[in-house]
């Protein structure tokens, strides 16, 4: 492995390349089956260099979880625009979430599946991210309820429960969408919007939520 040519480049850049390779390998093979040899080869560096920079398989996996958790939370926050009406805010947030998880399926597998399956330490990393998202969604729902004026008294506990339900539904749907051939990020976001905004009652009655008209329905992918 020492024979692999490695051009001189800043440590930070090299580390990101290692993490790219690790996320891909952990996501596709699973944490247990992934080997450091494979990750080093995919990153185009020697295995000792991976250990020198990231210390151990455990630390490398933790670094992957942290980087991908930060990226996902940032993507959701960037997607939400609080100047929009509540349904448009939710739509924008869901679009951002499903676009990110569809574009980074290995990262989503690391966060949603691998990190939660291989011990309490890794699971705790994901729980911290999830708590942050739930808090963010809780604030959005509470703000939307206040703005609607029609139901300013939606109890705090009810709002917290709704946020938990929404986040759980989104996680479940993202895993399903990534595992199901031909389901686009937009379709997954639309399904959850129908579910979360209109509810099954309106859906059964043939009243789905409709995306805003300025965005063509036929836009593929993200």
């Amino acid at each position: 492995m020492g024979a692999v040519k490695t051009k001189r480049m800043p440590r930070a850049v090299r580390e990101q390349q290692m993490l790219d390779a690790a996320v891909r390998t952990f996501g596709q093979r699973g944490y247990m089956a992934a080997s450091m040899d494979e990750i080093a080869e995919l990153a185009g560096v020697s295995k000792p260099l991976v250990y020198l920079y990231l210390n151990s398989k455990e630390d490398l996996f933790t670094a992957c979880i942290r980087r991908e958790a930060t990226a996902l939370v940032a993507a959701i926050r960037a997607g939400v625009r609080t100047d929009l009406p509540a349904d448009r805010q939710l739509w924008a947030g869901l679009r951002a979430f499903f676009a990110h998880t569809a574009q980074h399926p290995d990262a989503w597998s690391v966060l949603h599946l691998q990190a939660r399956t291989h011990g309490e330490v890794f699971a705790a990393e994901v729980t911290a991210m999830r708590d942050e998202i739930v808090t963010f969604v809780t604030q959005l729902i509470a703000a939307a309820a206040r703005e609607a004026h029609r139901n300013p008294d939606l109890p705090e506990r009810e709002v917290a429960g709704l946020a938990e339900a929404l986040v759980g539904a989104a996680e479940s749907l993202a895993a399903w969408a990534n595992a199901t051939e031909g389901v686009t990020a937009r379709q997954a976001a639309t399904t959850l919007m129908n579910f979360a905004w209109s509810g099954l009652g309106d859906l059964m009655a043939g009243r789905p939520w409709s995306p805003p008209e300025e965005e063509p329905l036929t836009r593929p992918g993200g």
Copy 2:
């Protein structure tokens, strides 16, 4: 440990006592921290007898997962009555689910948290149960959509996605309800009913779903 007096009783009864003790210990302490000594003591049997009957900590944990998964699926199936209108069916199913998870918090912790955190073999056991529930919910939603007549063409893929969203929301909410002081099973079921049936749009507009009148709203607990 051999000094613990064990009355003669059928193996099947003894095994259930061991599983009761194991579910409680795994659920409260976590899989790693739970000791076979503790489980044997709680079951009122010797540790060698636990090994004789259940073979190993891994096998004991697997037996716990299987028993509790079967019980949860049975509780949901028993709760749903397909002769009711769609919203009442959903309400009955959610009531059954949240009542069961609230009454058996250690079992829910084993299924939702412990089994998924400690390796792929245990996680696969829970995935099998989850797949069964998703299939069941998918059939219910499809049947409800057909009966409503108003939207007989709800696409199959959309129905599958809605079932994933509903199951994910329910899992998330059950974990939250069990971890949150003073949230009853009925409140959790009502929150999810509001979310899943009425949708956030109707909630914001002050139009929550209302439980059927014959069941008093003040009934505590399950």
